[in-house]
Structures are given as C-alpha cells and as structure tokens.
C-alpha cells in the first residue's frame, strides 16, 4: 500500500466517486472537479466517502482534517490521504 503511486490512488478515488455519487452517467468529472462545492457530494455523504478512504487505504483521518475543503476534489483527497499513508 505504501508504494501505491499517486496516479493509481487518484484513479481509485475517481472511480469510486463516479460509481457511488454521480447520478448522470453521461456527466464527466476529472481529478480537479469540485466535488463538494460543485454539488456532486453533499456534506452527509462525505462521511461514507471518508469511511471508504479509511478502509481502502488502511488509514485513519482525524475528523478535524476531514473538511469539505479537503474533500473538494480527487486531487485534494489524494493529497490528504497520502499524508496519512507515510
């Protein structure tokens, strides 16, 4: 897990977000798409996204760090996750 490349992590998170949170299958999102402020993931659903990240990457993210800002794009999420994988 420690050796997982950032690109690989981004794809895992992106695919999960598409699968779980995108209603419109034709909608396209990227690593930089605003997930929270863009309305794709609401604040309640953020909790299940957090559980997914912790399960998948075997980490524990402190509640104070799991903010809407830190979860606002795949890039930001991976940046946060990678801090706790070291």
């Amino acid at each position: 897990m420690e050796n997982m490349k950032l690109e690989e992590m981004k794809d895992i998170v992106l695919n999960y977000v598409i699968k779980e949170y995108l209603d419109d299958e034709e909608e396209k999102i990227t690593y930089d798409t605003c997930l929270i402020s863009g309305g794709y993931v609401d604040s309640f659903s953020m909790v299940s996204l957090l559980v997914f990240l912790e399960n998948k990457f075997k980490i524990k993210i402190p509640p104070s760090k799991a903010t809407p800002e830190a979860f606002d794009s795949v890039n930001k999420i991976v940046s946060l996750v990678s801090q706790y994988m070291k």
Binding site: G39, S43, F44, V47, V51, F52, P68, D72
Partner: protein, 567 residues
C-alpha cells in the same frame, strides 16, 4: 424603518385581513398563488423588474423578469393542460434548484393542480412511497434523476407522465416519458388561470414522523396570506432588496419563503444551485449584492468552522438583514454573526405543517441569543403542561409548544391520513411535537423534540423509515436508529445493528450499509455511524428501547429501566 415597525403595536388589534387588503383579496373571491406571484406583480407595473437571478454549476448564469416568470408559468401550465392534466392532480417537482423548478411551481398552480415538491437527493424508495401515497399523475424532472424514476415506474400505475426538462432530443424516451424544454417552447402570452379559491389545495409537502410512512401535508391557496405577511414583517423584505433563501424547494422553507413570500411581494431573489463552500457563498453575496439572507443553522455553523479571516476577502456590506430556520440557532452563532456581519441572525421557528413562521425574533426587537423569539402577531402560541394539556403560566417551566388553530397557512390535512391529522389537535390546540419554555419576558426557548424524530441539519428523519430500510439489507437482523450529537448538524443519524447468522461486522460492511441507505432513502437518512451489537435493549414484551440508546449517545440518564428485558 422596518416593515413591522413596533412588534408591540402590531399585536394590538391584529387582523389577517390586513394582508388580504394589501393583496387586494376579498373573502370568497378567486385566489391563486401563482397569479399573485407573477401576473399581479406585472399588472402593478413591475413586469421588467428582475424576479430571479440564477447561478448554477459551471458558472451558468440566467436571469428572469417578473414578465418572464409570468410567461413561463403560462407556457408550462398550458403544456400540462395539453397533456390532460387538471385541477387537483398531483404533479411532482423532482429537480435540483434549476429555474425550471421555480417556473414549473407557478405553471402547476396556474392550472389549479397541486405541487408536490420532493428533494432531488431522495433515493428511489423515498421517492416511491411519496408518489404512491399521493397517487401522483405527473412528475417533472431532469435527465440526471431519470434513472431513479425509471426504477420505480412500473410500480406506479397512477404516474402517467414523466416530463423531462433537459433530455437530449437524440436520446430515446421510454414509455410515459415526455420531453419539455421551456427555452424551446413558444411563450404563451395569455392563459385562463384556474379559479382556485381560499380552500383549494396548492402544495403537498412530505414530512417524516416517528412511526409510519411520511405524511403529505396539504396546504391551500389561502396560505399566501400568512406567507406574504410573515415575509414582509419577519424577513422585512423591501422593494429594493436582493433576497437569498438558501433552502431547497423540496422542503417547505424553499416554497413558502423561496418562492411564495418574496414573489408575492415583488422581490428580486437569487438562487445558487451548487454545493456548500464558504468561498462560493460569500462570493455569491458579494456578486449579487444580497441584502436579505435567510439560511439555516447548519450552514451558519459550517461557515463559523471555516473561520473569520475569509470574510474579510469579500465585500458583504450589502447585507442588512439575516434570518435562520430549520433547527434551533445556538447563541454562539448569533454572537458570531453580530461580530462578523454587524447584525444577528434572527431565529425563526415553524414547521411544514404550519406553512409559515410562527415564532420569531423580529427586526427592531431585542434579541436574546439562543432564544426562538415571540409568536407572530395573530398567532396564539403557548407551552402546554404535558399532563393536563393546559397552558403553563409560570415562566421557565418546560412544556409542549402549541398553537391555537386557525391561522391562514395551517395545514388542512395529512394526505389520506385523517387519523394522524386529528391526533395533532388536542384540547383545542395544535401540538407541534417540540418542547420549550417561556421566560418572564415572553421569549420562547427551544428544549427539544417531544418524539423520536431526528432533526439533522434542519431535515427531519424518521427513525422508523431508516430502520425499515435497514431491514431490507440482507445482513441486517435487527436495528435501532437514534440521533447522536453533531457539532455542525446539531444531530445526525446513528444505527445500532445486529447481524444475521453468518455475517461478520466490519468496516466494509458498514460502508456498504451506509451507501445502501443513502441511495435508497437520502444522504441525510444515511447513518453517519453504525455500531454492530450482539443484541438490542428490549422491553420484556420485545419492544426495542430506543430511549436507552439515545441516552447513551447524549450522555443522559437512562431513566426507568424496570421494563428492560434481562438476559
């Protein structure tokens, strides 16, 4: 000078006929909310005034004058009539906060049909039970939500039309689906608006109770009288205001004060159809020079968490009035807004069933941070002794919040559920289901719910509904759903679950159950925490003692446990 002037003076000789007179309505005449919100404003010489600024995902910006919304209401209404839809048919709105939602609201009312707004984040099961209960004839939705409707369509024989407002013309539609694009339709200049009267049904909002399925709260066109006057006196909407109500019209605030209140007063309002972020919200206020902002405690607490520094990056000097609704506004939030915006958020209290603000802090009245304020003029509000159901006269004693029935926007029934409706009225009082105390100056102070309903971020969630849905998950044996404290949402959903034999608790299972509920019911009904337990506390008769679990979460005394089943 505020619209209300002196609260104390307004209490004297108050009559709802004051609003009737201002609106030019006489008892027994035709009253149609959509006409009052669009045609009447145009007839008063404001047809070119902006009614709606809209900003959506990806920076999409649109604006509509009062004449535009009048025409759109006619166009949509005529389209619905041509489909064969008519007065008292239930037509559901299932859309994000896009202009078509607001415009369709007017179109439906113009043909005398009943608007059934539903929150677009609802999952297919939540959608199904509400459409089935109302025997809805048509639903207006977006392409992105179509898959949820398609999933349940076969089980809804009464749902004759699925109207899609943004479907790609090249994409095939399925049985019962109809494409309607307002921008490509010829505007209808004149239409015969259905002559609804005071007691004609207008809006059907669904709300959750402790037990049973959600209840359809039926409102009538006469509710306009309350919504007009409360928007004028509490929100203090004035001619030059730019008003922003952050509520979604899937909930009652989004219709009573996100459509009817402001537009019946001819007020310009703006809509931001995007997720929450402090930057986006402050930037929106700055850009549109918002003067009156009606929001919710959860949003306010989220802004507080981001901090004060960011506020300095925006010009928020246009703000002159702030108000809040949905759940009790804590004193810290009031003090924070006074510090950062030079004025307090005025807390307002009301419910889906009341249709309009009942207890409030008023412009010009002394604000006691943390208090709900005082009853609106014309509203008799008390707290009742839970045992005698008589009004409590001594200050400070906790009782049940109750109102003397008869205000204009009071619900007229629960759809197809007369028994539940009658249960809300006891001893000549409407029981709100909330508890409060009244201080020696007549201010109400919220204490809590009087039932098990969970108020999370201003949304009511029925533990029963969540428990029922949990039982549909293959691994779940039994479940009990309670609230747990939350810094931002006041309280959130927590589920205690026992598993069937052969299933093992774990984080992946927890996630799967969470997502199951989120998609089936809604994101706010999704348990924010799941605790797997060996057994649930039960009475000797086998009833789950939710009260014990609630007390554990809130660090409260468990009370009488003599009926607890022992191992």
């Amino acid at each position: 000078m505020s619209n209300i002037g002196s609260y104390e003076e307004r209490l004297k000789n108050f009559r709802w006929s004051l609003a009737e007179k201002e609106l030019g309505y006489k008892d027994g005449e035709v009253i149609n909310i959509a006409w009052y919100c669009s045609d009447r404003i145009c007839l008063n010489g404001n047809s070119e005034k902006i009614a709606l600024y809209y900003e959506g995902f990806g920076g999409v910006v649109k604006k509509f004058t009062f004449n535009d919304i009048r025409l759109a209401g006619n166009t949509i209404g005529t389209f619905l009539q041509n489909l064969g839809l008519k007065n008292e048919d239930r037509i559901c709105l299932f859309m994000d906060r896009i202009p078509e939602l607001y415009l369709s609201f007017l179109g439906i009312l113009k043909i005398g049909a009943i608007v059934q707004p539903l929150f677009s984040a609802f999952g297919d099961e939540s959608l199904f039970v509400r459409l089935e209960n109302a025997r809805t004839r048509a639903i207006i939705t977006q392409r992105k939500h179509l898959f949820k409707v398609r999933k349940i369509l076969d089980k809804l024989p009464d749902l004759e039309f699925v109207i899609v407002v943004d479907q790609d013309k090249n994409k095939p539609l399925k049985s019962r689906e109809v494409l309607f694009n307002i921008e490509e339709s010829s505007p209808v200049e004149n239409m015969e608006i259905f002559p609804t009267v005071a007691e004609s049904p207008s809006v059907l909002h669904y709300t959750s109770g402790t037990t049973g399925q959600p209840k359809g709260v039926k409102h009538v066109h006469y509710s306009l009288i309350s919504q007009y006057l409360t928007a004028k006196w509490v929100l203090d909407l004035q001619n030059d205001d730019i008003y922003w109500c952050t509520a979604d019209p899937g909930w009652v605030t989004g219709t009573s004060y996100g459509i009817i209140g402001p537009w019946s007063l001819g007020i310009t309002q703006c809509i931001l159809d995007a997720g929450f972020s402090a930057q986006a919200w402050y930037s929106f206020i700055d850009k549109y020079r918002v003067t009156m902002w009606y929001s919710a405690p959860t949003a306010i607490r989220s802004l507080m968490k981001v901090g004060d520094e960011i506020i300095k990056e925006y010009n928020l000097s246009s703000l002159r009035q702030l108000a809040s609704v949905g759940e009790p506004l804590n004193a810290e939030a009031v003090i924070w807004s006074e510090k950062n915006f030079r004025m307090p958020f005025l807390d307002t209290f009301w419910q889906t069933e009341t249709g309009a603000i009942m207890i409030s802090n008023f412009p010009g009245m002394k604000v006691k941070p943390g208090s709900m304020g005082k009853p609106f003029p014309g509203i008799t509000g008390v707290v009742l002794d839970p045992n005698t159901l008589e009004p409590i006269t001594e200050p400070g004693r906790i009782g049940l919040i109750a109102f003397k029935p008869g205000w204009p926007s009071m619900m007229r029934s629960y759809w197809n559920n007369e028994k539940k409706y009658q249960e809300k009225f006891v001893n000549g009082w409407y029981l709100s289901g909330d508890r409060a105390r009244i201080d020696n100056e007549g201010y109400f102070w919220f204490v809590g719910r009087d039932d098990d309903v969970i108020n999370t971020g201003g949304h009511l969630v029925s533990p029963f509904e969540v428990e029922s849905a949990l039982l549909e998950y293959p691994a779940v044996g039994e479940s009990a759903v309670v609230s747990k404290p939350d810094e931002v949402n006041m309280e959130v959903v927590k589920a205690f679950i026992t598993l069937k034999i052969g299933f093992v608790p774990g984080k992946d299972l927890e996630l799967d159950i969470m997502n199951f509920i989120r998609k089936r019911l809604s994101p706010m009904a999704m348990p924010q925490e799941i605790e797997f337990v060996e057994a649930l506390p039960k009475t000797r008769s086998g009833k789950i003692m939710r009260r014990l679990l609630h007390a554990k979460e809130w660090g409260e005394e468990t009370g009488d446990i003599s009926s607890l089943e022992s191992d």
